[in-house]
């Protein structure tokens, strides 16, 4: 009896140990859902609607991955994370991937042991102030009280910027965008600073967006992208190429409207054929099936469609493509070829 308990325990321990070593892909397939870390709420990027359904630019990446891996873009469990909790959530395995306007930096990549799989939004840090203050430049902010999200790159950039410009400020640390918005709107801080995209998204939710201006200075580079844990290259590849598929689809003119027709049979553009699985077996190399990329793109459309419907100029957030246009349109989006 005692012996069997002992052996049972030993077995259980080795099973759990074995599980930890299994690949993330197998875990996700076994669980039947993708656990995706997103922000606690940033309109246009990741926010739940009245029915609890998540929408947004970052959310679309999670859904595309779920569609590619599990065949269903709704099989995602969205885990809200703050700037402070996101890395612990990813490192501890609470989420399988993070798509939460997270800046790719050296120390996060190398020291925190994460793998950034690409950039889905090229951004930079900006400042927003009420128009009534009459401030025209960030250099005029001497002595201002600044709301700043803790645990972010923007917190470090802020300290550097004010220091190198010899101006003083009073930081008000906040944890979530919602908190920052409350403090800013009530005048508990003069300035709100974060990624320019975040400022635009936040401003879009204001009652009177026109009473607020985003200052011209962009003080940093913030390449935002999805990330996974170090060490599981297959999983990293899946996310990387799913994002690349969305971007390439736009470049090649594959949209959610024409994708069904295009994937019926091989056409005369070999790269489209390889992308959509009508030629070759790129999916097999990833450990997925042939139609993975087709499903990913069909889920919420290609990169351009996702951008336009969530944060583009037609949406309330109203951001121009700018740097985030395809390289063929003068932007920075450029993916390695599908071959």
């Amino acid at each position: 009896m005692k012996k069997s308990v002992f052996i049972g325990t030993l077995a259980a321990v080795s099973v759990t140990a074995g599980m930890a070593a299994a690949s993330t892909l197998d875990d996700v397939k076994a669980a039947g859902e993708l656990k995706c870390g997103v922000s606690t709420g940033l309109v246009g990027f990741a926010a739940a609607d009245a029915n609890g359904v998540y929408h947004g630019f970052d959310v679309a990446v999670c859904r595309a991955v779920a569609a590619a891996v599990l065949g269903d873009g709704d099989k995602v469990k969205f885990v809200p994370t703050t700037g402070k909790t996101r890395f612990t959530a990813l490192a501890s395995g609470e989420v399988d991937m993070l798509a939460r306007n997270t800046t790719w930096t050296f120390s996060r990549d190398v020291d925190l042991k994460f793998e950034f799989i690409g950039v889905n939004y090229y951004d930079g840090q900006g400042f927003m102030v009420p128009k009534a203050l009459g401030v025209a430049s960030a250099k005029d902010l001497d002595g201002a009280t600044v709301c700043i999200q803790t645990g972010t790159t923007t917190e470090l950039n802020l300290a550097d910027y004010f220091r190198s410009n010899n101006i003083s400020y009073e930081p008000v640390p906040i944890e979530t965008n919602a908190e920052g918005q409350a403090q800013y709107l009530s005048g508990a801080c003069d300035v709100y600073t974060t990624d320019a995209s975040g400022l635009a998204a936040t401003r879009a939710t204001f009652e009177k967006p026109d009473d607020h201006v985003v200052l011209p200075e962009i003080i940093s580079k913030e390449p935002l992208g999805p990330l996974v844990r170090h060490g599981d290259n297959q999983w990293g590849d899946i996310i990387r190429w799913t994002l690349n598929a969305l971007i390439t689809a736009e470049e090649l003119g594959v949209t959610s409207a024409n994708i069904d027709k295009m994937s019926m049979e091989a056409g005369n553009n070999p790269e489209i054929n390889r992308l959509l699985g009508t030629e070759g077996d790129l999916g097999g190399m990833l450990g997925l099936d042939k139609e993975w990329a087709k499903r990913a793109v069909a889920q919420s459309g290609n990169y351009g469609e996702i951008f336009d419907s969530n944060i583009g100029e037609g949406s309330p957030v109203g951001i121009a493509r700018g740097l985030n246009a395809s390289w063929t349109d003068g932007g920075l989006l450029y993916t390695p070829p599908f071959r």
């Binding site: 700037g83 402070k84 890395f87 612990t88 490192a91 120390s107 020291d111 925190l112 042991k113 009534a132 203050l133 902010l141 001497d142 002595g143 201002a144 009280t145 803790t150 645990g151 917190e155 470090l156 802020l158 300290a159 550097d160 004010f162 220091r163 010899n166 400020y169 009073e170 930081p171 008000v172 640390p173 906040i174 944890e175 908190e179 409350a182 403090q183 009530s186 005048g187 508990a188 801080c189 003069d190 170090h230």
Partner: protein, 509 residues
């Protein structure tokens, strides 16, 4: 041990460890200890292994790396170039500050409410019950957030104080500004004679102690009761005030002058002007405050650069540094100055009373000067105090009720007045019951202060356990240090309180 417990001859057999009651308990304890140590060892090894697998072996080197972030409330000097270790210390001091303030106010409020709850006045006692139930039954985090939300929404922002038709005004002779970013109170600035005032005050305090001893002795020997409250108050205030006013009179003849690499100009119409962008070496004395007031009264825009003393100001004047340098300062007139510095002609300042108030002044986006008690500190302090006070009130009430009614009645029968019954009979006995649970309330308050980040108060959990942990990814190490620190704080509080308990507990003779 009795003689019958002697082991029989025939030596020690191993089975005795289990079957002999003399050894059994020890055997079990040793086995339990080994089991405990093994599981602790396993946990540590496991954590170590997992960290190594993640490629993050345990290490505390990050504490000496540059922090890179700014902290708003700093009790000692700190900037973003300093280390994570230093940032942790700043956080620790903030934790201690709010815990200290919180424990004091919670005690004052709690004791008052506990006593009032026993009031014979029905309305008062019901109101106190309402208070206790309201605060005890809602989580403290909610109280903290609600307090902050009210603070931010209700009070005006600094720019509401600006202009002719300002919406908000400063209170108490323009010395206090209540804004939604915090409350600004005047800072103390010291002038000539402060040392004398201070010494007098300390001597008065010592005097009070001696007087109280004397009064007690007199009462024990002769039964005569002195009005010791009144006399103590007198000793507390009178000598210090006398010295203060005497010094103020003497200071009327003292003057400060303004000097520097640049000067203030006295115009023909008696107004004063200066170069634009002039920087003032702010050493913080009373004469200094008068100089700032003079410049402000004349509409001169200047930048204050904090400086420690005259020597520091002189280095700053000659440094030419755009950030730390300054142009003008004040000194008592007659002080010898180095070559190349000029005294501003015709402008002399009152050297100031031994203690002057430096009032908050609205300049730019915010108030400067004065002491800023940030909204986060006040919200956290308030909420923690009110919440813990509800528990303390219950402790106090139960302590008072634990003293049997017969005691009060007997004291009454001896002819003692109600106030004396409380202070001489009831409280000394109630304290024995009150102190031990009070220790846990103080510990609770201190630990609850770690909810600070909910309102953006930078305590140790916010710096070391928040930003540092996040920016360096050192979860394990940060949390180990954090736990050790809270443990140390808690043990210190309970040691101090236990010592106090030792003093007030019933002595059996």
């Amino acid at each position: 041990m009795s003689a019958t417990a002697e082991p029989e001859k025939g030596g020690f057999r191993l089975s005795q460890l289990i079957y002999d009651t003399r050894y059994r308990s020890m055997t079990i304890q040793i086995i339990a200890l080994i089991g405990f140590l093994l599981s602790v060892g396993w946990l540590i090894r496991n954590a170590g292994q997992n960290l190594a697998e993640l490629g993050k072996p345990l290490g505390f080197g990050f504490l000496t790396e540059q922090a890179g972030y700014d902290i708003n409330q700093r009790l000692i000097e700190y900037n973003s170039q300093m280390t994570h270790g230093r940032a942790a210390v700043i956080g620790l001091l903030n934790t201690l500050l709010v815990a200290f303030l919180g424990c004091i106010t919670a005690t004052v409020i709690g004791v008052s409410i506990g006593v009032l709850r026993l009031s014979k006045n029905w309305i008062v006692s019901r109101l106190m019950t309402l208070y206790i139930e309201m605060f005890r039954n809602v989580p403290v985090l909610l109280w903290i957030i609600i307090t902050m939300a009210i603070f931010i929404e209700v009070f005006p922002q600094p720019r509401d104080f600006r202009g002719e038709d300002a919406i908000a005004t400063m209170k108490l002779f323009d010395s206090i500004a209540i804004t939604n970013r915090g409350i600004l109170i005047p800072a103390l600035a010291y002038g000539p004679g402060i040392v004398l005032v201070f010494i007098t005050f300390v001597l008065s305090l010592i005097g009070i102690v001696f007087f109280r001893r004397y009064a007690k002795k007199l009462q024990e020997e002769t039964g005569k009761i002195l009005p010791s409250g009144l006399i103590s108050t007198g000793i507390f205030f009178v000598p210090t005030l006398v010295v203060f006013f005497a010094a103020t009179m003497i200071n009327l003849n003292k003057e400060h002058v303004v000097f520097g690499a640049k000067t203030l100009t006295l115009n023909a119409d008696n107004s004063i002007s200066a170069d634009s962008g002039i920087r003032f070496c702010d050493t913080g004395g009373a004469g200094n405050v008068n100089a700032k007031n003079l410049m402000r009264a004349n509409g001169i825009k200047f930048k204050s650069v904090p400086s420690y003393d005259l020597a520091d100001s002189l280095t700053r004047m000659s440094s030419g540094n755009t950030r730390t340098g300054c142009d003008i300062a004040t000194v008592p007139s007659g002080t010898a100055l180095p070559e190349g510095l000029f005294v501003s002609e015709g402008i002399s300042l009152y050297s100031g009373r031994p203690i002057e108030l430096e009032k908050p002044y609205l300049s730019g986006f915010n108030f400067t000067d004065g002491v800023l008690m940030r909204n986060s500190l006040i919200a956290l302090w308030f909420a923690l105090s009110l919440y813990t006070a509800a528990f303390i009130a219950e402790t106090v009430r139960s302590g008072i009720q634990a003293v049997s009614k017969g005691q009060t009645e007997a004291a009454g029968a001896l002819g003692l007045r109600p106030g004396r019954i409380t202070s001489l009979v009831v409280l000394p006995q109630a304290l024995r019951v009150i102190i031990p649970p009070m220790i846990s309330q103080y510990l609770n308050l201190t630990k609850n202060s770690s909810l600070a980040i909910a309102v953006g108060y930078m305590d140790i959990t916010g710096t070391l356990g928040g930003i540092t942990l996040n920016q360096t990814g050192r979860e394990m190490e940060s949390l180990i240090i954090l736990m050790a620190i809270y443990l140390a704080i808690s043990l210190t509080i309970s040691t101090i309180m236990n010592q106090y308990n030792e003093r007030v507990k019933l002595r059996e003779r």
